[in-house]
């Protein structure tokens, strides 16, 4: 497969995953505030949604306050912000357009539709007049696109590069949401069992689409179990371990080496990360500090991404290698 094509497939799916996550995040925030009348007056109620991105600087330069309108605009329509829903859909579509001949037509058509919808002049009105429906629809479009890919695309190399992009992005998003939200809710832990507290924990689970699955496993809401579930659950498809485990499989499928043979740089990176997730457990993580643990995971994820780039997308001919001396891998 052409390196450029693999690169586009990988990024197309990363962007789509990002869109889906942002839409869900806003949707769950809207739901949460409906259950928390007191918080609706809080001028910083929407601030965590900016914290999750880490892009405070951009936000504070452009907007005066963390009110609902600003945060929603920032996350949804801001064309200058590269991670807004609009920017990500545009980027996903550009990538899809450059690999139209590789992906199923229905997949392209639905990505194109999503793009046409969000760019349509009435879309910001729809977002403010019926926000639940608006974000719900975006989320469902993303699911639809993924579903089409899953059931109509050959699960070969193209598919595995798509998976790689999607799963790495998802692992990154889950770790960020957990990291930020946990520390916002935590100081209120003395309210354990209060309705405010459980509404917020519930919202955290909803923002990762995990409430129902969590309930099946743990029944009761507790901060430790939530951490355990979102990081270590073996079966839940948005837990970090699940994402990395399946990303690793996708990588082995692409490279064609037997699963578990760690003889390339990328295989080793994956192996180390998986080791961390396999041989840690929740009490240990809470002992080290959740934030520090998640920080390490994120930097490992970044390493994996950059090795993927060097390994698959930036193939250099021999002559160029000679000039630079070594190939960075």
């Amino acid at each position: 497969m052409l390196s450029r094509v693999a690169n586009s497939l990988y990024w197309m799916n990363r962007y789509l995953e990002r869109v889906e996550n942002t839409a869900r995040l806003i949707e769950s925030q809207l739901h949460m505030l409906l259950d928390l009348p007191s918080m609706r007056q809080d001028p910083n109620a929407w601030k965590p949604l900016v914290d999750i991105t880490g892009d405070y600087k951009y936000f504070s330069e452009k907007f005066e306050s963390y009110d609902r309108e600003n945060v929603i605009y920032f996350h949804t329509f801001d064309k200058n912000y590269p991670h807004s829903i609009t920017s990500c859909i545009t980027a996903a579509r550009e990538n899809a357009r450059s690999v139209r001949e590789i992906i199923p037509s229905e997949m392209w058509e639905n990505i194109n539709n999503l793009y046409l919808d969000i760019l349509e002049p009435g879309s910001s009105l729809r977002a403010s007049s019926a926000p639940h429906k608006f974000y719900f629809n975006i989320k469902m479009s993303c699911h639809l696109i993924q579903g089409i890919a899953y059931s109509t695309m050959a699960h070969g190399e193209a598919w595995n590069f798509s998976e790689l992009g999607r799963l790495l992005e998802r692992a990154d998003k889950t770790s960020r949401i957990l990291d930020v939200k946990y520390f916002i809710i935590l100081p209120r832990s003395d309210f354990v069992g209060s309705s405010l507290d459980s509404v917020q924990w519930t919202a955290l689970l909803k923002s990762t689409s995990s409430l129902e699955m969590y309930r099946k496993r743990f029944n009761l809401i507790s901060s430790k179990n939530i951490v355990d579930f979102l990081i270590f659950d073996r079966e839940f498809p948005r837990s970090i371990r699940y994402c990395i485990h399946h990303a690793e499989r996708a990588f082995f499928n692409i490279s064609g080496t037997p699963f578990g043979v760690y003889d390339t740089d990328l295989a080793r990176q994956f192996g180390k990360l998986m080791g961390k997730l396999n041989y840690s457990y929740v009490d240990e993580v809470m002992g080290i500090g959740l934030h520090q643990f998640l920080d390490e995971i994120q930097s490992d994820l970044n390493n994996v991404s950059s090795v993927i780039h060097d390994n698959f997308f930036a193939v250099k001919p021999v002559s160029e290698l000679d000039q630079s001396g070594v190939q960075t891998q």
Binding site: L2, S3, R4, R97, W108, V315
Partner: protein, 488 residues
Amino acid sequence: MNFDSYNPENFYDEFFLESGKPRPEVEKLVNRINSFGKSDLSTRRRSANSAFKQMGITFGVYGDNKGLEKIFPFDIIPRIVNAHDWDLIERGVKQRVHALNLFIQDIYNDKKIVKDGILRNEFILSSVAYRKECEGLTPPKNIWCHVSGIDLVRDHDGQFYVLEDNLRCPSGVSYVLGNRRVMKQTWPAVFEALPIRPVEDYAGRLAETLRYLIPESILKPNIGILTPGIYNSAYFEHSFLAQQMGEELVEGQDLVVMDDVVYMRTTKGFERIHAIYRRIDDEFLDPTVFNPDSLLGVPGIMKSYRKGKVAMANAPGAGIADDKAIYAFVPEIIKYYTGEDAILPNVPTYVCEDEKQRQHVIDNIENFVVKTAHGSGGYGMLIGPFSTKKEQKDMIDNILREPRNYIGQPVIQLSRVPVMVKDHFEGRHVDLRPYVLYGKDIYVLPGGLTRVALKKDSLVVNSSQGGGSKDTWVLEEEIIKTDRPSDV
């Protein structure tokens, strides 16, 4: 909506012999449309348009930084070509492409046509499309123009003429295929009732055409379509063809030449590519040979091509045959190489390089169409009857400054086809571009792109100038006139 008020006026109308009297081949369709309720046709139009939008069948317009991609305007009333006319067209364009291919081979090698005094050497050498780098070269299987599009028009008496030959990278075939797909959804019952020839296998034939250039000993060759990228106006077509053929769509950055062999950069390292259907003009193909600033091309690809390590379609240098001044000599070229008279005549053409012909163009400029020898897309042309005095004067200045680069043709009253305008039909001018593949033999796709000037009275059909398209239905056999209007 019906055709009761439709007036073919003083033009050759592809649908009506006279008002209310349809030609036999369109009768079924006309009856069908006449039986529709008022909103039926507009509903069909709406659903056809949304199908295009959803499929993302678009083209890019240069110089329009806002739009970037547009839907190619489409009219759901087809253009119908009967079997008799098609037979003439098919024989005519085959003959033409065959002769042009011999011509290109000759001028880059023996130059017999010059030695025999038919064309002057300087006339050929002064063409912008002449490639010195191709002298002495014979491409695989002696084929230069693998894919061509021959633009045809019809005058007020119904006579077909060749207006232009496109032998570089003729585009538009994806619209032929896309239009057909949408039309089948729009008019399913009509398709069942009429013997419309399918266009579906174009991509397969194109793949065969390219495969033919690769030695048979290579069992699993790689074929690529070289595109300038997603911002090119025809990008949709490039990716569409790649998808339909199941071949790789490559950009310049995906290819690299090592030891004169062309490779693709893949996730598993470098893989050899054997044939390239390039949709990049000669000038941008190889920065080490042609335009050194080109970022679209592949450094070293010409050397690899010359050494026979990679095949390219169309062959670099083939564009010489769509120089519009050389076009003027195509009837002589056909006669010279095949001994036959041209089956399809040229539009009378005045070559401005010749002093007498130039004067004639200048004296009659208000009645002439003036074109540049290398232009395409309808840019830089003048249509006498629709131009201002100032535009005419500017054009005359241009001609005098660069006579070799201009030709003049009397205005042809292009034939017309009805299009939907709000709630009724009006006649609009059309042309027709059949697509020709030259591989093991010469194949003409039974269909082609009918371009329609959507502006009233306009004679310019180019998509970049407000033109649209129609599906072209080539009928299998003569339609026997029927008295039963409701059998569709």
